[in-house]
Amino acid sequence: MINFAAASAAQPLALILLAPLINGCVKKLKAVLQNRRGASVLQPYWDILKSFRKEEAISETTSWIFRAVPYAVFGATAAACFLVPVAAAAAPFGFAGDLITLVYLLALPRFFTALGGLDAGSAFGGMGSSREVMIASMAEPALIMALFTVGVETGTTQIDAAARILSQGGWTAFSPGAALAFAALFLVLLAECGRLPVDNPATHLELTMVHEAMLLEYSGRSLALIEWASMIKLTLFLTLLANLFLPWGIALEAEAAPLALGVLVYGVKIAALLAVLAVAETSTAKLRLFRVPDFLGAAFVLALLGLLSQGVLRLGL
């Protein structure tokens, strides 16, 4: 007999600690697809540790905002992990927030990163911030609509309750609305986590970067915290995709067997999603910045159609 509360409390910690590994896996998969050997999957851990130990250079132009940003970003992103079920359909701090809260908790880091980009006074930071808020202001509504599709389907905005209801529903989780919302959420993931074709996480080419441009002035542990937070964010989005749209196998009881199965199934689902992400990133070229709104517009329309079809089909005319 395992204490369900303890087991579920381990979930957010696991998300936070395994995020670099998952990021390392994407990089490795992409390298393999590109016929490279690539770095070890553990490389992100070494990168974080290295940055933690490095001296930090802070611009003279900046204010306290610049120094507060890494902590606000990391804190809010980590807090978001506590709301999301991972291997068991229970979120230890589910009472603290639901899907809507999750969206706004993820908006908080973006707000602060964009301010941090402006604080140093260089044109790159401002450019990055301006692009980031433009992308985010299109991605956020799509994200809300996609998550609301789940809300309408399950009748709750509590994330753990939604995952439980979907998982108990069996194959009924496959609905046209959910499929549209899944596609929309995947597109939002690409935009929000700064992946190709919206932003290239591997480039510092000055005129194309978005997320990296905002972080240009950061170094040392501040940089490490922000980078770690963005890895957590990617993991969080993958977990949402896995548990809200492919809910089968998540542990519903506090027994050893379902929990072990839940962990295993979660691993398989994440691995599959990582493969899809790596293939998607390898097979697309980066979009021109002003084509990105079309891309996100597609995500928004998909999510809205998903929501409306859910509202119409599920409940009759």
Partner: protein, 677 residues
């Protein structure tokens, strides 16, 4: 003690002090604003006591035989509006003691009209009959007109005042018509009689009254497309007045609308809610779209008020839809979302306008592109503006988050509605709200980032100093309010309960859970506890900091070093390298070019090749579609007709005598014709 009477007395005293002490501006400010602050404080206490269940004192002045008495008494619903108005009134008055030295040359006028404006506005929610209500309504409008047109030497202020006055009075005409019709139906001026007679009216009459209320109160609230006056009038007034106009005065429109629809007419058919919801979605999107590209900080905030009125009206519209289909518990959820946002908006918009006012006073410019670096010169003002920005962007743990969360829950519950069209409408409104909140966050990243961060762009901004203690303490009160209402939503929801009950004139099954979780059996409900989020985020950040510290301890001491920002190889960073507000919003100008219709003009002066320009001139402006397409054509027609009518005035006495005799002849003929019939 009769707090209402005391407040009225203090307001009048403040106005008199302003006039009497005109020669000693500092004394006039202290006496006039101090008196206004005390009056507001006593009204605030009275309203809170009323919301907590106490009986309200009343003020009744006997009227003449033909008209009703002046009757003022707070109901819990009125108290819910009176509380934020007087809280903001208190903060703005304290602020003005320090701030208003800017306007010391007109101190008498400013202090007197300020007190009168506050008097009219804070007594409006206490009015118990149509006569008192209309009196306060006009009182508030006329007094605020004089405040908008305070700097009447500037043509900009005169124009703002003129537009404001004309639109307010046009709106007031609808309100007067509404109340006169209700008076005719009820046979009395008293609101109690309206409440009894209104619900019994035939459907056609109710529809007409609803439309009158929508236009009349919608104009005051700034509902699109009736919001045209708002971005002119709010920036033109002194900042503490702007804060009151934007944070409090437009709420009186919401008050009137709710009172008419829910109390006097007892709810209506579903299409009322649908119309309001659609208008609300349009209002919020239009407001935020123009706020996003605005560089004048006060106009930006004014457009943002339009957006927030949209958010409030979304809650109201959803509530009407649910009411029409008999889903009382969901109607209550929607109404509490709307009322919560009403209170919140008063706090954060007041805070933003007050801190913008201090910036304006310090940097002598309203253009955020000329500011920059103010966070180092005015750290506390910057912190206040940041808190306001986070609240208005609905970021946890501040108050805007709670009310937007409630509004989202209300709109999402729309899938419980029985007809498909209303379900789709409600979900589309949720989409509009999602888009609005994303754009609002972008707007305030721009406003705060460009105005307060990086390097100052003009000398005035470089020389800016921190605001006075009066200003800072007023902003501090509002900032604490934003935080408190965000962290303890249960307390506020408890105060909303009696207000909604008094609006509906009956007890209501109401949000039982202090964690914001309505526990109805169906509907997508969730819960949110902002205080827990703060605790989680803070402990995570602390853990991360500890981990980083541990890692550094292992690796040996490495301190942070201050270095200049890399300036791409140039000797040093200059403000000209910073991103400007126009550049920041450029992606949005391109993205929404179908709304903005931007015009861009670049002229280059070159010597030999276009790659070596000697001088580049760039200008960019946008077209205000609503003004140009909706207001301009009828205005042009009106002017044309007036122009034609002017031909009648030839200036010659003989012609005028001719008109007179023609009129007399026509009247005689008319009466003869009447007698013959």
């Amino acid at each position: 003690m009769n707090f209402i009477l005391a407040a009225a007395f203090l307001f009048v005293l403040g106005a008199a002090a302003g006039i009497a002490l005109g020669r000693w501006p500092a004394a006039a400010r202290l006496a006039g604003y101090g008196s206004a602050a005390l009056a507001s404080l006593s009204l605030l206490l009275e309203s809170l006591a009323c919301l907590l269940g106490g009986a309200s004192s009343s003020l009744i002045l006997p009227g003449t035989a033909a008209l009703a008495d002046f009757s003022f008494r707070l109901t819990p619903f009125g108290a819910l509006f009176c509380a934020p108005i007087s809280a903001l009134g208190f903060a703005a008055s304290v602020y003005a003691v320090g701030y208003a030295e800017e306007h010391d040359d007109k101190v008498s006028r400013l202090v007197a009209f300020y007190n009168l404006f506050l008097l009219g506005m804070s007594f409006l929610p206490a009015a118990q009959n149509a006569f008192s209500f209309l009196l306060c309504w006009e009182w508030m409008t006329v007094a605020s007109f004089f405040l908008v047109a305070l700097d009447h030497e500037k043509s900009e202020s005169r124009r703002a005042g003129y537009i404001y006055f004309v639109m307010s009075q046009a709106g007031a005409a609808f309100v007067f018509a509404l109340f006169f019709l209700l008076r005719a139906a009820a046979g009395s001026w008293e609101f109690e009689a309206f409440k009894a007679a209104g619900p019994l009216l035939p459907a056609g009459a109710k529809n007409a009254l609803f439309l009158l209320a929508l236009i009349g109160f919608g104009t005051k609230a700034g509902m699109a497309p009736l919001h045209l006056w708002l971005p002119y009038a709010h920036p033109a007034a002194p900042s503490h007045v702007s804060a009151l106009m934007s944070g409090a005065m437009i709420k009186t429109g919401i008050y009137g609308l709710l009172l008419t629809i829910f109390s006097f007419l007892g709810g209506g058919p579903w299409w009322w809610g649908a119309v309001l919801l659609a208008a609300a979605a349009a209002t919020s999107l239009i407001g935020v779209a123009y706020a996003l590209i605005e560089n004048d900080i006060k106009r930006l905030l004014a457009y943002c008020s339009v957006e927030n009125i949209g958010v409030i009206l979304m809650g109201v519209g959803a509530g009407m839809l649910f009411r029409a289909f008999g889903r009382e518990e969901l109607a209550l959820l929607s109404l509490s979302a709307a009322l919560y946002h009403t209170v919140n908006h008063a706090l954060f918009k007041g805070l933003l306008f007050l801190s913008a006012g201090s910036v304006l006073k310090a940097a002598h410019t309203r253009n955020i592109e000329e500011m920059g670096g103010l966070i180092k010169r005015m750290p506390l003002t910057a912190l206040c503006f940041l808190i306001g920005s986070m609240s208005i962007s609905a970021l946890p743990p501040f108050n805007g988050f709670v009310s937007e969360w409630l509004t989202f829950q209300a709109l999402l519950s729309g899938f419980n509605l029985p007809t498909m069209s209303t379900r789709i409408l409600s979900l589309l409104a949720a989409a509009a709200l999602a888009l609005t909140s994303g754009l609002a966050a972008a707007c305030f990243v721009k406003a705060f980032g460009v105005a307060f961060l990086a390097l100052p762009r003009i000398d005035n901004a470089r020389r800016a100093v921190e605001a006075s203690v009066w200003e800072l303490s007023a902003m501090g009160i509002l900032a604490l309010g934003c935080l408190g209402l965000g962290l303890f939503p249960g307390v506020v929801l408890g105060l909303l309960k009696p207000a909604i009950e008094s609006l509906n004139s009956g007890p209501a099954a109401f949000l039982p859970n202090p964690l914001l979780a309505p526990s109805a059996a169906d509907g997508p409900y969730g819960q949110a506890l902002p205080a827990a989020l703060v605790a989680l985020a803070a402990s995570a950040a602390a853990a991360a900091a500890a981990a980083a510290a541990a890692a550094r301890w292992i690796g040996g001491p490495a301190r942070a070093r201050r270095v200049p920002t890399w300036a791409c190889g140039l000797p040093e960073l200059t403000p000209r390298m910073e991103y400007t507000a126009t550049a920041f919003s450029k992606p949005f100008r391109l993205l929404f070019s179908f709304i903005y219709r931007p015009l861009r003009e670049v002229s280059q002066e070159c010597v030999s090749s276009p790659y070596f320009p000697r001088n580049i001139r760039y200008s960019s402006k946008i077209t205000y579609l609503i003004r140009e397409k909706l207001y301009r054509p009828p205005l042009r027609l009106f002017l044309k007709v007036s122009h034609m009518a002017r031909r009648l005035q030839a200036g010659s006495v003989n012609v005028y005598l001719g008109y007179l005799s023609a009129a007399v002849t026509a009247l005689l003929l008319l009466s003869l014709w009447g007698g013959w019939r």
